[in-house]
Symmetry: C2
Subunit: 458 residues, 2 copies
């Protein structure tokens, strides 16, 4: 393989080089197809994906047009959804059908699944029969399942073959998948009997029967299994690939680690985004789409903010008497909010990785209560001293210190119990925990501080 070395197209920050970009831009402007084919044809699909994302929309479309059948469609699996949609919409269905035919089935499905039903049907109808059946098999499974992500090309042999027969078959058959790391063992009805890793075949004598070296595929993945759960199997058992089976335990495809790595990335990203109060947005989304997608979370936050404000409203007469309370009250609420979000982050992550369960939940709740108590006391002393000197009033210092201990303890409890409860009732703790925890720490913070002050000075 004679490929442009990686270092050539990226700068030291891992970003596409400006010089490479302007070279491509110039070739597009000149409609210099030969130069483009030479420069772009050498790129790995993911490098071409990065190049497409760095180009301007009109350059992107021009590049795809100029390359024609030399455009590597698998690069579309490496770009943002919006950019893929833009390119796919721009191309005639004939050209897409032509390109999809040569892709691995998992890449083809990735491109087809986001298209309009009508366009997808038209493209499928233009494909050769076997190819169409293969893709439909994957597309018929629901989104985000193992069946949707699997590759329908695989190598399978009967158990009574010898290692020698298997190697001869691999040498003769030209219709093998591009790359494979295990060979499946099936009966005549495609029922999965086991699998053999390639290194096992290579280290075994030609006369040995496959059934003697096959291992049971105890990690066969049902096609309807959620992709996240399938990814967890890969992680737990260090799998490189796994057989995907239908309801009758018949082999229908293979899931490979490279697809699973994408799922793992995506799931970790989803948790992070949800905790930050953003949904499935992408950088290429428009201003309006982005602002719309962020409104619901802000609206919920507005409701809880009014709730906190009405707690303050209960004590407006005390505030009028002692304005220092208004100055100090956001400190109590803010510190509680921070401590609560620390606990919540740890809890949400532990739930996602299944590190927290019935055996250790109680121990972890006690630990968080202890941490909340200790840090509450530490910062109560600090804040009490500062407030005493600032307002030259040790009553205010004492009251804010007491409120701080109460709110830090409440924050710890809310930070662990709210995600656990949400998980228990089947809600996603990453989505909703943050807003509830802040509501608790704001309300408890204001109530404890202003309530104590009203009772003391009252």
């Amino acid at each position: 393989m004679d490929v442009l070395p990686h270092a050539d197209i990226y700068n030291e920050d891992g970003v596409v080089r400006a010089s490479f970009l302007s070279q491509i831009g110039a070739a597009i402007a000149d409609r210099d197809v030969l130069a483009l084919k030479a420069d772009v044809g050498r790129l790995h699909q993911s490098e071409l994906g990065d190049l497409l994302e760095a180009l301007l929309p009109e350059q992107r479309r021009a590049l795809v047009d100029l390359l024609g059948n030399d455009f590597d469609f698998s690069a579309l699996t490496e770009v943002d959804d919006a950019i893929r949609a833009e390119i796919v919409d721009h191309l005639p269905n004939d050209q897409i059908a032509d390109a999809v035919k040569d892709l691995d089935s998992d890449d083809a499905v990735y491109i087809l699944e986001d298209m309009d039903e009508e366009d997808r049907q038209e493209i499928l109808s233009k494909l050769p029969f076997t190819e169409r059946i293969r893709l439909k098999r994957a597309l018929d499974y629901p989104e985000e399942t193992a069946g949707r992500r699997m590759q329908t090309e695989f190598v399978a042999v009967p158990p009574f073959w010898t290692v020698g027969q298997t190697i001869d078959y691999l040498r003769d058959d030209t219709d093998l998948p591009d790359r494979f790391s295990e060979i499946f063992v099936i009966d005549p009805t495609f029922k999965l009997l086991g699998a053999v890793y390639l290194d096992q075949i290579l280290r075994t004598k030609r006369s040995t029967k496959i059934e003697d070296i096959k291992h049971e595929t105890r990690h066969a993945i049902p096609a309807t299994m959620d992709q996240e759960e399938a990814a967890r199997e890969f992680e737990q058992y260090d799998l490189l690939s796994a057989a995907v089976v239908d309801d009758n335990e018949r082999l229908v495809g293979v899931l490979t680690i490279d697809d699973v790595v994408d799922v793992i990335q995506q799931e970790a990203e989803e948790d992070l985004m949800r905790m930050g109060g953003v949904g499935d947005e992408e950088l290429s989304d428009t201003v309006l789409a982005t602002s719309r997608s962020r409104v619901p979370w802000l609206a919920v936050n507005l409701l809880t903010a009014f709730l906190a404000a009405s707690v303050i409203g209960l004590f407006d007469q005390t505030i009028q008497k002692i304005v220092a309370l208004a100055v100090l009250m956001p400190i109590v609420a803010g510190m509680g909010g921070n401590a609560g979000s620390q606990t919540m982050t740890v809890t949400v992550r532990a739930l996602a990785t299944r590190e927290i369960d019935i055996y250790n939940a109680w121990r972890i709740i006690r630990r968080e209560m202890g941490v909340g108590m200790i840090n509450g006391i530490v910062f109560a002393i600090l804040i009490g001293l500062v407030a005493t000197f600032w307002f030259e009033n040790k009553n205010i210092g004492g009251i804010i210190a007491a409120a701080m201990v109460i709110n830090m303890f409440a924050a710890a409890l809310a930070g662990i119990l709210i995600p656990l409860l949400l998980d228990k009732v089947g809600a996603d703790p990453a989505v909703a925990s943050s807003v509830f925890v802040t509501a608790v720490t704001d309300c408890v913070g204001f109530f404890a501080f202003l309530g104590l002050a009203t009772w003391w000075f009252g």
Copy 2:
């Protein structure tokens, strides 16, 4: 392989079954070594890891003692640092040395790297010469580098061998790694010339020379490369394994996708934890260790909270006149904080995945400013109406609406510019962005709202 099926030891939530746990607990209490060897010996290393984590500390130590040499040390790579340290401290160095000898080098390094220097040296000195050299080679590379994570066992052949010779070598050699997916091609000085995937060997005639089917390993990983960067190479180029080379481009080991998946998980987790204001803590840490590790972030937050409080202090006379301002001011600050953290989450994630760069930064800044403006206006109208009716004062409604637009716009700017600037100066945006963004939205929120009110009501 005759292994207990997965479904047997976990319940439907993926947690170790209570019945399995009590069965093991009873066998430990009875010191029933035979039953334990039967039940535990059948577990995959990660299942044994989960079992260890679910047991009580004294049960854990008793189990390891009872199993003796039948304890699968690779399970220690699957448990929390604290639990690994507890078990390793408990065992005599002789037994550890004996077990480490049989582990893959990457697993052995994983266990050795966290031990005391003294214990590590003692264990290394008890190992056979070649094994000791292999482990030292990896341990000499800094933590979190590819060299530290690599496996030092690999299969390498000279370029002039034929496919047939290679297969015969694999059939004869008993000292091969447990599992491998590519064969490296080296010269007599171990200089890396290329690699061949196993499926290529299987589909090629015996007489073909290795040099004719080898591909250039353009993704050879320098041993000193950061593990996170190595993981990014794996993701970008869908690698299953990669050669690790020293400064002289000599092959020293192989990095495999299963180790990389752990790194990817770990890095995603680090980002999430840092944004939530928590460090490298684990669920098994003690109360004191946890509370200490969370103090720095809370302390920084305390400073910025005092900054925000002193902004309020500037306007104490206005608040005394109109207490409604004290009731409403947390809403303006809180909404800004939320909008800012939405923008910040998207930016931090885009920086981590390198989706944001000099080509699109300006476009994304403009997009965020647009989103901030639109959502600012939407919520300004809402909040202005509610405040007008609540306090029966349309001046207050107008002032809070204006302050809201200003703060949501400031939140958008802070949410994108602060992470970008931190990244530019080489700081980790995930660690520090949150505290700066909140400081901006609190101060701007209070200043805009109270300042406008002071100017208007004068």
